[in-house]
């Protein structure tokens, strides 16, 4: 039995302790905003926050999360999240949209640590998130817009 906090609520998981967090979220918790894209931490579609840091949920066994705090796209909040989601909406970043939960979780984390990132900072922080529709130019723009809005 693994106990952890998920989007502010106490949760338990008593299945296979090797189960990656991704499948605990999607199958057991039915929180499907977090996506499967590769299963080997290459694409970032499964990005969530664990204890305030980005984590690839597809390679994180649930057994390692005893007592941890997990935040998914469904529960992310705060000024950075609001600014990022508003900026994403304002310039229509998503195309197919499948990777965007992961993109947004990485972008929120970036702004939490670096409120005024440069293009290079953005490229560095977002390099682990693949978008096959290649919405990257708008992702860069939206992160700058969100940073500007938070500063204002």
């Amino acid at each position: 039995m693994v106990s952890f906090t998920l989007n502010g609520e106490d949760r338990q998981f008593d299945g296979d302790p090797e189960t990656p967090l991704l499948w605990v979220l999607r199958d057991a918790e039915r929180l499907t905003g977090t996506k499967y894209g590769c299963g080997i931490a290459q694409c970032g579609a499964c990005t969530v926050h664990v204890d305030g840091m980005t984590r690839r949920s597809c390679i994180t066994p649930i057994s390692t999360l005893e007592g941890s705090t997990v935040t998914t796209i469904e529960g992310v909040e705060g000024p950075e999240a609001e600014a990022v989601q508003a900026a994403w909406t304002a310039i229509d970043v998503p195309q197919c949209g499948y990777c965007q939960s992961g993109q947004i979780m990485s972008a929120v984390s970036l702004l939490q640590m670096n409120p005024k990132p440069s293009d290079e900072d953005i490229d560095g922080a977002m390099a682990g998130n693949i978008c096959r529709c290649a919405t990257y130019q708008r992702i860069r723009q939206a992160i700058h817009d969100a940073a500007d809005k938070m500063e204002a």
């Binding site: 609520e9 039915r30 909406t89 195309q95 197919c96 978008c131 096959r132 990257y136 860069r140």
Partner: protein
């Protein structure tokens, strides 16, 4: 019972609902057509839109008493924007207010919802807006006429005196006005007019201006539902062990270890491999990796990619080629004194589409024996027929509920629906007593075939003493995507019909037979023909001492739309007055595909790893009338990124013995954000009929980069991807 009713999926954040309704839009799940409602699980199929009392005005438009207007999109939304585009067309002629517009996927019906360019329901070939442009406007205008007729009857005034603007119906003289909702009941009962007059384009209010995408809000808060997100309480998850050689079949298997995995429910052999069923995804994956399968390779492809290219090279030099274009006297000119010639042998690898959401489907048998399928249906009628055939059920009792799809790039559009046949075999073998979600992993996706085929282009060309190109000889060898014996237009499009005036020109083609399944890939034949034509032309222009832009303009007919986009992009980059900064070079390409014209100029330097670094792309596009400029720009940006990743990094390689070498994003590279150039897009104003934008941004990027690279390094790119070409010491 099912889940994903929009409540369990949304999670605890209280603002989600406000966020959705605040934007006034919901996509979520496919809404059931009325007749199906009783057989549906209401908690699975539930849209947030107000549908009580909603009345159909025609097959495409439904209006509810709360005045919300729902457009039934016959085209799937996988990022290219038809949900917003088709809805805009209806709203324009309906004179609706944008805030009252909704959209949902139309049911599968090859007659009512056929693509007017194909004759069956389907999305592809960049046709969504082009084939719907008049049809959706007529649907809107018809509904408007019925609302006006109802108002005229209700108010006892002449219909001709009634006006509609931004969702309000008015009669000036009597001072009466109404929203749509109050008149829905009466309007739905009116006879639809046999003819409607569409607006003069100068009166457009919505068409031609940026409109926020209807699907954005749910894709930003995680509430958008894709096929992989659909669930039922008693659902099985199934994955299939596939052979690692194309054409191989199951000889025998041992499932002892697989069945010992807690959560694994069953293991069954199906024609495509061995299916593992489990109560949850992780158990299914674990069970599959514990399977021991022996494969029969007697009919499998066991050649490597290198061996296939070698065989293709012999075919190119052989007899019996198919003629795609031939004028002048190519042989006489190529061997003439006073001309200088150049040759090239270009190799294009297999490419996987690799959409972010791998292939998947959920199949459910209802109590009345009918089947519901939830999937990213790009050819819904084909999917329906495949399920009917495999499961032995009348197609009339099968519903295909099209979901938002996490990309496709051509992968989800297949005649005969081979993927759906696999999903249906999996479902059938399970006994169909529980809902089944079948999913492919990324490894299945990269190794599963239906690739952009390998092509080999053999080119020779010549310039005369003035540097004018006088000869062009091209032979294209590869699989026919359309499985043809005769000339396949999709193998030669973009080459046989190239716009340049060259006196002596011949394009030949050969169809090859491989057990590796082939499929169109974003921009189809243009994925390789544009590269071959535009990069070889650039070499010939250089040989003749011509400027890449001026030289192309001199060969293009006056007034051609290629000239328009080429001149525009040259202006954008400052081609005449400027030049690339020290250590960088510019390359240009122009190409028409799917009746849309795109020119691109790129600025390239040598990256730290020795390959090309693309800093900037200028792009000019002429796609006729523009419905939504922001979506056109997004498709150009995305097409450039998708095409760039492929020409820089991507190949699926058959190794020694014929097994695929790549398996996931670590060795089948996707472009990442740090490799994405800055892209500037200009749209040419036009009153021509609208044409597509999903694919045409892709073809010019490869040759533009190759042309810049050749000018920067002296190295012509003949083998793709460029990175492997460099690694091979080419």
């Amino acid at each position: 019972m099912g889940y994903h009713d929009g409540h369990s999926a949304g999670g605890p954040r209280p603002s989600r609902r406000a966020f959705l309704t605040g934007a006034g839009l919901v996509i979520g799940m496919t809404l059931v057509p009325k007749g199906f409602a009783k057989t549906q699980d209401p908690s699975v199929i539930q849209a947030d839109v107000q549908t009580d009392g909603a009345r159909p005005f025609n097959a495409f438009v439904r209006i509810a008493p709360d005045s919300s207007v729902t457009v039934l999109s016959k085209h799937i939304e996988f990022g290219q924007g038809p949900y917003t585009g088709l809805t805009t067309l209806v709203a324009e002629e309906l004179d609706a207010d944008w805030s009252q517009m909704r959209v949902e996927a139309a049911p599968a019906d090859d007659e009512i919802y056929k693509n007017l360019a194909f004759g069956l329901q389907g999305t592809g070939g960049s046709t969504a807006i082009a084939n719907s442009y008049e049809q959706m406007r007529q649907a809107g205008a018809t509904a408007r006429a019925m609302l006006v007729a109802a108002a005229a009857e209700e108010w006892g005034v002449p219909a001709g005196e009634i006006t509609v603007a931004r969702g309000t119906i008015s009669h000036k003289a009597s001072g009466r006005s109404s929203d749509f909702g109050a008149l829905v009941e009466k309007a739905a009962g009116q006879d639809a007019p046999s003819e409607v007059t569409l607006k003069d384009p100068k009166d457009f209010v919505l068409i031609g201006t940026d409109r926020p995408r209807l699907d954005t809000p749910s894709k930003v808060d995680g509430s958008a539902i894709f096929t992989l997100d659909i669930g039922f309480d008693d659902m099985l998850i199934a994955v299939v062990a596939h052979p690692d050689h194309f054409g191989a079949t199951v000889k025998s298997f041992d499932d002892t270890a697989a069945r010992a995995v807690p959560g694994v429910v069953d293991v069954k052999e199906i024609p495509q491999g061995v299916a593992v069923y489990a109560d949850n995804t992780f158990a299914a994956l674990k069970g599959r990796s514990a399977l021991k399968v022996e494969w029969d390779l007697s009919k499998a492809e066991t050649r490597s990619s290198d061996e296939i290219f070698e065989a293709y090279s012999k075919i190119a030099d052989g007899e019996g080629l198919l003629e795609a274009a031939n004028h002048g006297d190519i042989e006489a000119v190529l061997n003439k004194d006073g001309t200088r010639s150049v040759e090239a042998l270009m190799r294009f690898p297999f490419l996987a589409h690799a959409p972010m959401e791998p292939l998947d489907a959920v199949l459910v048998k209802r109590e009345d024996g009918s089947i519901d399928c939830y999937n990213g249906a790009q050819f819904p009628g084909q999917d329906k027929a495949a399920i009917a055939d495999v499961c032995g059920i009348d197609p009339a009792n099968i519903r295909v509920n099209t979901q938002l799809a996490g990309g496709s790039f051509g992968r989800r559009a297949q005649f005969g629906s081979p993927y759906m046949r696999e999903a249906a075999e999996v479902f059938k073998a399970s006994g169909m007593s529980r809902p089944v979600k079948h999913m492919w992993t990324r490894e299945d996706d990269i190794r599963g075939g239906f690739y952009r085929p390998i092509y080999l282009h053999k080119l020779s060309g010549a310039v005369d003493g003035d540097g004018t190109i006088v000869a062009w000889n091209q032979t294209i060898v590869g699989q026919s995507i359309m499985n043809k014996d005769e000339l396949d237009e999709t193998s030669v499009e973009g080459a046989s019909d190239m716009p340049y005036r060259i006196e002596n020109r011949r394009v030949m083609s050969a169809n090859t037979a491989l057990p590796v399944p082939a499929l169109w890939w974003r921009s189809v034949g243009h994925t390789h023909t544009a590269f071959a034509v535009e990069s070889f032309l650039d070499q010939l222009l250089e040989l003749g001492g011509k400027d890449p832009v001026e030289g192309r303009l001199a060969l293009l007919p006056e007034g051609s739309r290629e000239r328009g986009v080429l001149q525009k992009v040259a202006d954008m980059a400052g081609w005449k007055s400027g030049s690339a900064p020290e250590g960088r070079a510019w390359g240009v390409a122009v190409h028409k595909s799917f009746s849309t014209y795109v020119a691109e100029i790129v600025e390239v330097s040598i990256a730290e790893d020795g390959g090309p670094k693309v800093h900037k792309v200028w792009c000019a596009v002429d796609c006729g009338v523009v419905v939504n400029p922001n979506i056109v720009k997004a498709q150009m940006e995305g097409g450039i990124g998708y095409g760039l990743g492929a020409i820089l990094y991507d190949e699926v390689t058959l190794g020694e013995g014929g097994a695929v070498l790549q398996s996931n994003f670590h060795d089948y590279r996707s472009l990442r954000i740090l490799e994405m150039p800055a892209v500037e897009v200009a749209i040419l104003p036009s009153s021509e009929a609208p044409t597509g934008v999903g694919e045409p941004g892709v073809p010019p990027i490869g040759p533009a980069v190759a042309n810049a690279w050749r000018r920067l390094t002296g190295q012509a790119v003949e083998t793709l991807p460029i990175k492997s070409s460099l690694g091979a010491g080419a």
